[in-house]
């Protein structure tokens, strides 16, 4: 039972603490974005660089979400359905990206794929150089967001009753048919929330991206990098316009996530 009476004081204190910590900074982005009026906001947002940065970030987020949805589900399936030596270490390794600072991810990618790295050296004679290109950004985002899909799908797979699967096999379904018609529908919720989380995280990724993107405007500059570059250059209005859009997008994604998980519980 939750206490209904006498809640106003603890709740009030909580709000007071959260106000400068979380709520006011978010509000400040929107206040500053619209300080010059809606016309100035649209003008900042309409610049070629800002438009490119937003589009590029969205595309990377779509690709990241799509690729990791498949990769993550597959990894979850393998880990949930098979017992093998070294299972624990592998599970830990796959979840590692959550724990590693994103800047370190960027550095390690540069060290592997860059011109001085192991893969980079092998690719150089072929004229391939993934770092400082959109491919490099995608690689970084795949790395950083990999565990989200796994975290959303694996618990569902673990809970899934084996009997359904066995029933399907008994009825003559193949491995793929069973996966497609029995397991996948049961995972829908996890797939949805995992994909959205991956998308949202990719949209806002900064630490790894700044290392591997080369920060080229109209080529590899993502929206967060654009915000940082414009803010550093003193163009606060331009930075805030894009920041406000990113924040609004995150709110929308979060809204759907919460609605969805709320419905599932109800």
């Amino acid at each position: 039972m939750r206490q209904r009476t006498g809640a106003s004081i603890p709740v009030g204190i909580l709000v007071l603490v959260l106000l400068p910590l979380i709520l006011m900074p978010i509000a400040a982005v929107f206040v500053f974005a619209f300080r010059g009026g809606p016309a100035a906001f649209l003008k900042s947002l309409g610049s070629e660089d800002a438009q490119f940065a937003l589009r590029f970030s969205l595309l990377i987020a779509f690709f990241t979400a799509a690729i990791n949805a498949v990769l993550g589900t597959w990894a979850a399936y393998v880990l949930a359905k098979h017992r093998f030596p070294g299972e624990r270490p592998l599970a830990i390794a796959i979840n590692l990206p959550v724990a590693i600072p994103t800047v370190v991810v960027g550095t390690s990618l540069l060290l592997l794929w860059g011109p001085i790295g192991l893969f980079g050296k092998a690719l150089a004679p072929l004229g391939l150089q993934p770092m400082f290109t959109p491919v490099g950004v995608l690689l970084a985002h795949l790395f950083v967001t990999f565990p989200y899909m796994l975290g959303a799908v694996k618990p569902l797979l673990d809970e899934l009753e084996v009997t359904y699967e066995e029933a399907a096999y008994t009825l003559g379904a193949g491995k793929w048919q069973t996966f497609r018609w029995v397991i996948l529908p049961a995972l829908r919720g996890g797939l949805f929330s995992g994909t959205l989380l991956t998308f949202a995280h990719s949209l806002g990724e900064f630490g790894a991206t700044v290392m591997v993107s080369g920060n080229l405007r109209l080529r590899t500059q993502t929206a967060p990098l654009y915000i940082f570059a414009q803010f550093e250059a003193g163009n606060v209005a331009q930075a805030n316009a894009v920041a406000a859009v990113l924040a609004a997008l995150s709110f929308a994604i979060f809204f759907f996530l919460l609605r969805y998980s709320g419905r599932k519980r109800a």
């Binding site: 937003l54 589009r55 969205l58 595309l59 779509f62 080369g214 109209l218 550093e232 250059a233 003193g234």
Partner: protein, 347 residues
């Protein structure tokens, strides 16, 4: 039932929203009929304060002149950051065809890393130097701390905002300016005078930013009493009255010289004429006039009358007066600032 329908509606809404986002994101790359042909792209890297002058004036002017000459469209992908940052990115292999660095030292680092042939920039006009600008001080409006020259930065209680010499070319110029001004005042013991001057300034450095431009943003956001920076970066705003401060010209200061490097390894044979034309254009009268208008001092002295806002400096000097960047880096930046001053400050 009603909740089921509303949830399905919400699902559709989410799908629709996602689809709209994807369409928006893909739009520029969709093959819509009637769209102009793909332009040729030049990748140009530069140090922090160049951004506006290059993106708004010089590169568009070149694109127009190239279009007039050949009918082709040129587009520029540009990136501007601290000169040291840019140099590191070039070493790691960013696909730039040209880069304008804040100081020749960074060009030498590129040569050491095998990115460009040693001394290749020296064969360009003016030894590769595209433009110049003196190092100045920016103080709060009304100059409340009474700062008139470099020695005033050493006074107790003065908070100095300085770019970081690790990533910023401007910071290296600033160190040379602080050292050189003192050394030229006391020519019989320049090293001791320069050391004392640097020690005084760096005891008071309260904020270090990654680039000259970032240092200026820190100053504008209210940090510190005085900023050491390029005249160019603050000239336009000072004229327009939007600089939250005043420019103070030291009696003696360095004129920074900005070096162009051409990265042959990133230039396909078919791009050669385009890049060569761009390089020539940077020293053309048209481009140099644009630089002057944006607050850079031209390598062609005659053009510098074109900007009345330029302040006068009684005793300007160049890095060549101290033996060039190799020597300045070894003896002053590393030998005195890093080895002695920073150790003393860290105590």
């Amino acid at each position: 039932m009603a909740s089921d329908r509303s949830s399905r509606l919400q699902g559709r809404l989410a799908l629709l929203g996602g689809g709209a986002l994807l369409l928006y994101a893909l739009w520029p790359w969709l093959p819509v009929p009637g769209r102009a042909e793909q332009p040729r792209t030049v990748v140009f890297y530069g140090f922090s304060i160049l951004g506006e002058a290059m993106n708004d004036d010089v590169l568009p002017a070149f694109a127009r002149s190239w279009r007039r000459a050949t009918g082709e469209r040129v587009e520029f992908a540009t990136a501007f950051a601290g000169s040291g940052t840019v140099t590191n990115q070039l070493i790691l292999g960013v696909p730039a065809q040209c880069a304008l660095l804040s100081l020749e030292l960074d060009a030498q680092r590129l040569a050491d890393a095998g990115v460009v042939p040693a001394g290749s920039w020296r064969r360009l006009p003016h030894g590769g130097v595209v433009n110049r600008t003196p190092f100045v001080l920016v103080v709060r409006p009304g100059n409340p701390k009474g700062i008139h020259d470099f020695p005033d930065l050493a006074r107790p209680g003065v908070r100095v905002v300085h770019p970081d010499p690790l990533t910023s070319g401007g910071a290296n110029w600033a160190i040379l300016a602080e050292y050189g001004a003192a050394a030229r005042r006391l020519p019989d013991q320049p090293r001791q005078a320069g050391f004392q001057a640097l020690l005084g300034v760096w005891r008071n450095v309260t904020a270090q930013a990654a680039s000259a431009r970032a240092a200026r943003t820190q100053f504008e956001n209210g940090f510190g009493d005085v900023l050491v920076t390029y005249e160019q970066d603050v000239l336009e705003d000072a004229q327009a009255g939007t600089l939250p401060g005043e420019i103070v010209y030291p009696a003696s200061t360095v004129l920074s010289e900005h070096t162009l490097v051409v990265l042959d390894k990133n230039i396909a044979p078919s791009e050669r004429p385009l890049i060569d034309a761009l390089v020539r254009f940077l020293w053309s009268e048209e481009a140099q006039r644009l630089f002057v208008r944006r607050g850079f001092r031209s390598v062609d002295e005659r053009l510098n009358a074109g900007n009345p806002a330029f302040g006068t400096i009684r005793d300007p000097f160049l890095v060549a007066d101290f033996g060039g960047w190799k020597r300045v880096k070894r003896e002053i930046v590393d030998g005195i600032w890093k080895e002695r001053v920073m150790r003393e400050v860290g105590k």
